[in-house]
Every structure is written in C-alpha cells, then in structure tokens.
Subunit: 392 residues, 2 copies
DNA sequence: CTCCTTCGTTCGGTGACCGACCGTTTCGGG
DNA sequence: CCCGAAACGGTCGGTCACCGAACGAAGGAG
C-alpha cells in the first residue's frame, strides 16, 4: 500500500526494467530500448550510464547496421563479470553452476548424491563447488546472490525443506545451512525444483510469452511449477504446486504421503515400471526403455504407457479446468512418457477438460533440458538485482 | 515491459493508491494517510486536492480527536455521488444495484429469472433496473462504470458466456448485449460469479488480509474464485476456477459436461438431495432442510451429509495441495452443507491434504451473504477508476 | 564528396515529491 | 482566562527524473 519516495522509485524501476530487458533479451541497441521501454533517448542514455557505472552492462559499437544513419550503441549485460551461483539438489545428483547475467552458464560442476545423504552432508560438496568456482573468478567479478533448487516442499520464509519424499528429507534447514556456509556470496534464495524449472522455461524456454503456464516435473514423484497471470503461484507458505498429491483415484494404491490414489502413484516411474512388468528396475533409463519397447511393439509396455498416459491426461485435464493455462510442459521423465503417449494423453485430456478450458492449451516438452533447474535458480538469485540494480 | 511517461505514472499511481485506500478503509484522516502511504504531508494535500477537484472525495473536520493538536482533516469517498452499477445473473434471480464508491449499496432491485430465460431476455429487466436507478440519481451523480457477474464461463476478452449449465446458456454474448443497452453508463466488465464473490470477500469480507484465497461457490454446480499472491487467477481465456469439473471420482456418475465423477456431481445439491432420499426437491431450502434434519437426528440425512462432506473435504484437500491457500470460503448452499458437515470435511481434508499445505488453512463462511456478487461486481467496475482516478 | 538518415549528447523546461517554515487549531495547566 | 505544547495544513523553494529541441557525429547512397 505504500508508495514510497516515488522519485527514487521511478529511477529504480526504470533501471530495473532496462537491466531486465538486456538480461532477458540479450544485447540490445539503445534505439530498440528506446522504443521497447517507451522512454526518451536522453533517459535511456542516462540509465545506461548509471548501469555502466555500476558495472552491470557495457556498451559497444554494433557490428553491421545495414541501414542508413548513425549506428546505435549496443547495450549488453556484463555476463562475464556479474554472476550468481545456482545450486540444485536432485534425487541422485548435486549440481552447482556459476551463471552470468543474461542467463549464460559460465561453469558447472556436479556429483552424485548417494541415497540417504542428509542436508548437512549435501551442503558440503555444494559449498566446495562454490568455493572452487570463486577461486577462479577474476578480481573484477561480482557475485550478486545465490539460489538453490530443491526437489521438496520449501518453506518460503526461511528455506526449510518441510518434506521431500524422493530425497528422503524431513524438516531439513537447507536454507540456514547453506547461508551459514556461503554468507560471503550474497543473499541465498531457496526454491522448489519444479517452481524453479517453471521460472526458467517461462523466462527462456518453452513458455516464453505465455503468462499462464503449468510446468509438470515427474520422476518418482510429481510436482508442478505454476505461473498464473505472469506470476509464480507459491501459496501461503510456499508449498503450492503439489499436484502429485492431488488424489485422482480414490480407490487407488496407497501413497507414501498417507493418502491413496495420488496422481504420482498413478503416473510416477514406479507405476509405469510396475505396469510394464519391470518393477525391479528404476530410473530414467528404465522409463526410456519402456517407451522404446512400446515403440517397438512390446505389448505390455504399450499397455503400461496407455494406462499411465490415461492418468496423465486425466490429471492434466483437472489442472486445465482449474487453471485454464496456455501451456503445459512435461519435464523430468514425464517428458519421455509424454512423447510416448501423447495421443493417449490428449484424448483423455479432451474427455476431462471442458472445451473452453482446453481449447488453447499447448502441450510441450521443455527446451532447457537438464540445466533448467540451474538456469531457474539463477533467475531467482538475479531477482534482487533486477528489482533494484544500484543497491549494494 | 514499458515504463511509460513515468512522471505522470507516479501521480496516477499515488492518486489511485490514495483513492483505493479510502475506498477500502472508509473515511481516513490526512495524518493517517500520510503514514499509511509513506508520502509527505504536502503530497497528501496535493493529491486530495486533485481528487476533490475531480469530485471523488471530500474533506471534513473530524468529530472528536481526543488528542492535543490541530485535528487532521478527514478524507472520505464521495459514496453518494460517485457510483457504479453492479448486476448479477444467477440461477433463479436477476439482481441490480447502484453501489457507491467505498462499497456501500445505495439501492438494489431484483426479480425472478424463469428457467429458460435466454440472454437477450435477461438483459431487458437488468437494463430497466439500471434506467430506473439512473432516473433517481441527483444531477451531480457520476457513474464510473458497470459490471455484471454471471454464473458461467466468461470469455475475458469480450464477456461472452461460453457455457453455463446451471443457467442453461451456451455462447451467449451477454457482454455485447448489455454494452449496447447500457453504453451510456461507462465501460462494462463481465465476471464469473465465483470470481467476483471471491473479489468481494477478499476486499471486504472473510478473506481481508489474506492473499491466497479459494472461494468456493456451490449450488447445483460448483465453481471457485481463486486469489493467489493477492491477484485473481483467471487463466488464459478467463475460464480458470472451474473446480466443479475437477474429476474426483473416476468411477462416479456422469456429469452434464460429458465427463463423469466431477466434483459437482458428488457435492452439488442434486447429490445431497439424492443421497438423502429427497431427489424430488431442489433449491436452497431443500438443502437447508436436509442439514436441519441431520441436526435433529434423521439418519438418512446424516448419511447424506457425511457422504457429501467427505467428498467436499476430498476436493478441498486436492485444492489445498495445489494452491496452499490461507483461507477457503464456502459460499452458496455449500455454506449450509459446510456448517452441517464441518467435522467430516476437516477430517477428510486432513487425510488428503499434505501437512505443510493444510496446516494454516482456515475454513470459513462468507461474511457478505447474498450481496457478495453485487459488491464484487462493483469492485470490478471501480477498478478502472482506481487505476487512473483522473481519467474521463 | 555530398546529402540524408539515424543516433548520441547537451541543455532548458515541466512535473512530482520533499523539507522547512509559518500559521492554525485543539488540549491542558496555571 | 491566558498561554504553551502538540499536531496539523498551507506555502514555497529545492531536488530529481523525464522530456523535447537543438546540435553534432557516424554511416549509407548516389
């Protein structure tokens, strides 16, 4: 409700808008910035001067204009000097990257995460990665923050992991632990894996330009990152998007959450492999093997894929009725399942979804691959800077 | 992405913020506005002067201060002079009201809506109501817009009703029709009934101060108005919130939408009355009768209420997992069902909802009663004014 | 080489907010 | 009844952000 000292707010807002533009769209000429931001040439000049002074962007003469007239200076983000650390804690991997302003991954490390590794143990290799990267950064480098994506339920206020069945954590204060290890590297944000991937695909992937997006991430469990009206939906405590525990089959199998017939018990990896008669195997390769087998005519694999595809379409239909999204993205191993069962999914979606809600829905696969979580975490880390470029 | 001519934007924003404050909180002293909005005394003075010049607010000496010092002038909305027309098309009623700035209903008319009345026929009595009200408005009155709430799926771009099973409409251009009849009364917005009720309860009812809210409205059908992060979720085409067609029971009864086991087939009025052995009756009184009978010990009514309450808790649990709301409000005849089956609902919700998602959820009944739709529609109509008070 | 186009820079102007100063209104004590 | 303290409104000069016009600079086309 506060309006604040609006003089500075205007400047801050315009600086943020300009910086966000080059962060999202890459190097941009001043002329284009003038038209895109609707600001005067003089103002764009002053804003870029400020940002150059802060070391956030640089200007250069353009290569070839092709048109008459004096060529416009090109403003580009200092993607080499200004960066954030992006971390990701996944089921079987720990990943860390240094991501430059503009979204480019500058360097990246990863290691296996053994089952049973707790939060304290996971922090150490991540911190080691960060310190390794830090030691190689030139002196003029500037870290503007860090963020970690975790495949679990993240309490927004402090980054506590309330519950992560796939990783096996309960009430692990990952935010606190990492902050105490990495307090020299700016503020640390903690985000849910699917949320962060949704952010990445919305910013730089399959959902660019769409303001109502559902990003589904599935492996053993299923979660969603939801963008509604251009803003992430995280709910009151930060636990929104737990679509994996939407009960779709009241008469279904028990779920680890205590309920039964949750969506993830019907469409998760375990369900697919069980239906395909391969319950002894697990992981992304096993899922891919089922899809491949179905392609090659294996009837039990086909049956499993049909069954799972049916439940996927069913749940997506429910979500489409609730959110009326423009895009639904299938990430994780759900991507492969989607590619193998697209017709089944679409058909069931059409049966469950109301015509008005489903008519403009596009079903997509991610464009960012395995780096989505890191790119999204970096976006999280950059948010402070983009909201107020000259602070700190 | 545009920043616009930010000089004017600042003024516009601050004028809107001040006007919105007195609109939401009622008459407020300049001193309090100064602290609440974080603006200088001089600025508040200038802003109120502008708004007084536009006839939107007035100032008056306060009654009794009780404290030392010169009393601060009280700024109050011109709720008598500045108003909007709010209309509501419900299953069996057509309602129209003139609502003053500040949210007070100044006058109100309503009439029955016979089953089978189409959109063209419904427009006429509504337009008549508006013209009747218009003729009684003093010459200095000023209409700033109108809005209509309709219990159906509203296409956002033009206000077409894509589908309303309860009212019995398909592709009725209610927006166009009303606009052509009422073009002299400013811009007309069209909103979904549940969305608009959610807006009302969020602004002036049971969800004040909560930024993550689900308002459930149920009679024969079930719909939801969803507020996430303080903003309404309407989806890409405007059709979000159709939770009534979330399928909760894949083996359930067929629904009018073509699917089966939709939430509204399990918790709608028809389900309750059928389970209670009163399928021959209908309407809100019949629902109330079942709840009363259950209170008095009628076992078939109790059984019906338990069954329906179970499914309500089930669906709310799903929604809680998806949205992690702070408040869930039960409106329509669902209010009575909730009051009669609260324990059952809570118990089932606790079984389906994840602990983290449900732990802070408050279940509530509406505070605005039957006027919620009109008050919410008025909020919709006032939005243009509050976004830019001095335009027009 | 010259003209035209396009852009960067500079500078004066407008508008919005702030802070200080002064006058006004109320309360409370002598 | 008078006077000081407290709280507030109004006025005025100052600062800051943006805009628009004027001028110079940098390329392309003939």
């Amino acid at each position: 409700m506060r309006a604040g000292p609006s003089q500075e707010e205007v400047r801050k807002h315009n600086l943020g808008t300009l910086l966000r533009y080059v962060h999202m769209h890459g190097a941009t000429s001043r002329a284009e910035l003038t038209t895109r931001l609707g600001l005067n040439r003089s103002t764009i000049g002053a804003l870029t001067a400020d940002l150059i002074g802060a070391g956030l962007v640089s200007e250069a003469a353009p290569r070839e204009t092709g048109r008459a007239g004096r060529p416009s200076l090109v403003v580009r983000p200092e993607s080499g000097r200004v960066y954030a650390y992006a971390l990701s804690i996944e089921v079987d991997r720990l990943r860390a990257a240094r991501v430059g302003l503009g979204g480019r991954i500058l360097e990246q490390y990863e290691t296996e995460r053994p089952r049973g590794m707790n939060a304290g143990e996971a922090v150490r290799p991540l911190a080691r990665f960060v310190r390794t990267m830090r030691s190689g950064v030139p002196d003029d480098g500037r870290c503007v923050g860090s963020a970690v994506a975790v495949a679990g339920m993240v309490r927004r206020e402090d980054g506590l992991i309330r519950l992560s069945p796939t990783i096996g954590w309960v009430d692990e204060p990952i935010g606190e632990s990492l902050r105490s290890e990495l307090d020299e590297f700016g503020p640390l944000s903690v985000g849910n894996h699917a949320d962060v991937c949704a952010l990445a695909e919305h910013a730089r992937g399959a959902a660019v330009g769409s303001d109502n997006v559902i990003y589904l991430y599935g492996d053993v469990g299923v979660g969603a990152g939801i963008v509604a009206g251009g803003r992430r939906v995280h709910g009151h405590g930060g636990y929104g998007g737990e679509v994996g525990h939407m009960v779709v089959n009241p008469y279904g199998r028990p779920c680890s959450c205590g309920s039964r017939g949750c969506w993830e018990t019907e469409i998760g990896e375990h369900a697919l492999l069980r239906l395909a008669g391969r319950a002894d195997r697990s992981g992304g390769e096993a899922v891919l093997a089922v899809v491949d087998a179905a392609m090659r005519g294996d009837s039990s694999a086909q049956h499993a894929l049909r069954q799972v595809g049916d439940w996927i379409g069913f749940g997506v239909g429910n979500l489409v009725n609730i959110f009326n999204p423009e895009v639904v993205i299938f990430g994780g191993t759900l991507r492969d399942v989607y590619l193998g069962a697209a017709a089944q999914i679409r058909s069931r979606l059409n049966a469950v979804g109301l015509p008005a809600c489903r008519e403009h829905v596009r079903l997509r696969t991610p464009e960012l691959g395995a780096d989505a979580a890191l790119i999204g975490a970096a976006e999280l880390a950059f948010e402070n800077l983009l909201d107020d470029p000259l602070v700190s």
